[in-house]
Amino acid sequence: MSRPRLFTTVLVYVLLFSLALMFIVPIVMMLAGSFKADARVLLEAGSWRGYLPADMGLQNYRDVFERVPFLRYLLNSVFISTTIVVAGLLVNSLAGYALARLRWPGRDSLLLGVIALMIIPLEAIAVPLFYEVTVLGWRDTYLVQIIPFIANAFSIYLFYAFFIDLPEALEEAARIDGAGPWRIFFSIVVPNARPVFATVAILTFLTQWGAFLWPLMVTHSEDVRPLPLGIAAFYTLPPLQWGDIFAFGVMMVIPVLFIFVFFQHWFVKGVATTGIKG
């Protein structure tokens, strides 16, 4: 290795490590703090001791369950997010497939409509949607957190783009054998479309797991509120106990981290896809 080359490599590593430190510090602090007496968390936030776990054991974790209905928040989040993911995969993949493959009057205008709707973020319609669900009498339910988010223009578009590029030969063969569109879709197209299903599932889950604005607007009872509202409420619940809050945070993020570690490839691919679409 030549001198300048070695120098560059060292420089790159130094840069990478110092940047990595910035990314890992808040995470390690949260993890260490979750095993520490509440007063010590704040006291040691500025010293190296802040990153060492202490002898508290799981006391903070026990406190979380005692002070707030953590399990309830967790179950709500899991139920809401997975229902939206599963129902969304079905509804949006069918629509994407129909737009890409089937021929029927109005298809092209529908495709244009879907593309146009993609640019409307939830925030732009949050207020009238709130009014709409109030009129429907859906406030403070699971329904109001699930139904509006099943059909999703961006998911439909991702499915559409994938199906357009999928070779048609297999479907053609099945069609000659007399299979109808439903059978072709479920027994041939779906098994060959795992990447797009994974991408859409992950993007949807990530968005829904972190959903904050909408649940804050339409729910008020703990029976239906998800984790993000739980941690916000916990954080404002006196006395402010950082150890407990961090224990809540660790438990809140473990499910996504777990999925992230196992499906990292798809996460990264999913995000990169959103960029390619632009």
Partner: protein, 297 residues
């Protein structure tokens, strides 16, 4: 191919649930937003709802709180967009080097993206803790060799918005990094080989190959980040509640408070219509710039 030729009900069944959902929960509310913004609707008001013309728009633009929130959003975008895009580009370039452990670094930089913003906001409140015990305060104390005066970032009108900016970048930069990384890896290797044959140095390759090739991805990242900057809400709600002295209010924060805390649905709707017009303009700008680029090529 019988079913392929005759346009039947079958095909409509494929799209019916999606169409129903999009019509009821995206298009209808969108139309409703526009319609409501021309009325005086308030929840629980005894007054009958009537046509109000552009009054709501006139009101919000003459409301110093809204104008201030809009300014905060613009300021936030002006800080966050160059910083986040720049950092994402640096991270992507570093990780794109043939190094040991690049997957570990990529994982680490991307990890905060899967953290819910609400959690990130709460954790960063502690990092910004006031006094010499606070994490950021003590780091700055060490870096400035003891010249730093500890401050209460989130309760200081000058520091609250930058603090939220830092939090947002930490959580979101991995997202932009991954998009840029994908674009970097799509650059044909021959371009670099040709440049090397011609004796181009590293920085020349970066300047004359990498950056021009990344142009479209960079435009996309910049505009998406700008749109995200205008959607800013979660961090503000948790970390500062718009304070101190309205230093961190945002358009969405105003919309939510107007529509819910004050029950002024029509006025809240008008704010979201303004928000949508901003997003629309940014999207059109992106399409225009990208299309323009293709014509030039």
């Amino acid at each position: 191919m019988a079913w392929h030729q005759q346009p039947g009900r079958m095909e409509w069944l494929f799209v019916a649930p999606a169409v129903l959902g999009l019509l009821s929960f995206v298009l209808l509310p969108f139309v409703l937003a526009v319609v409501l913004s021309f009325t005086n609707l308030r929840l629980g008001s005894p007054l009958p709802t009537e046509f109000f013309g552009l009054t709501q728009y006139r009101r919000i633009f003459s409301d110093p709180a809204f104008v201030h929130a809009l300014q905060n959003n613009v300021l936030f975008a002006l800080i966050v967009v160059p910083l986040q895009t720049g950092l994402a580009l640096i991270l992507a370039l570093l990780i794109n080097q043939p190094l040991r452990g690049r997957v570990v670094f990529r994982t680490l930089f991307f990890m905060p993206v899967v953290f819910p913003l609400s959690l990130v906001a709460v954790v960063w409140v502690l990092l910004f803790a006031p006094g010499t015990n606070g994490t950021l305060n003590s780091v700055l104390d060490v870096l400035t060799l003891g010249h730093w005066q500890a401050r209460d970032f989130l309760h200081d009108p000058h520091w609250a918005l930058p603090a939220i900016t830092l939090t947002s970048i930490w959580q979101g930069v991995g997202f932009q990094m991954v998009i840029l990384l994908a674009a970097l890896q799509a650059i044909p290797a021959q371009l670099y080989e040709a440049a090397r044959v011609d004796g181009a140095r590293h920085w020349q390759q970066l300047l004359y190959i990498t950056l021009p090739q990344l142009r479209n991805a960079l435009i996309f990242v910049v505009l998406v980040t700008t749109i995200l900057a205008f959607r800013l809400f979660d961090q503000v709600q948790i970390m500062t509640q718009g304070g101190p002295q309205h230093a961190t209010t945002t358009v969405m924060f105003e919309a939510v408070n107007t529509a819910f805390a004050r029950q002024q649905v029509a006025r809240g709707a008008a704010i979201t219509v303004v928000f949508f017009i901003i997003v629309l303009l940014l999207t059109v700008l992106q399409r225009y710039v990208l299309r323009h680029e293709k014509v030039v090529e």
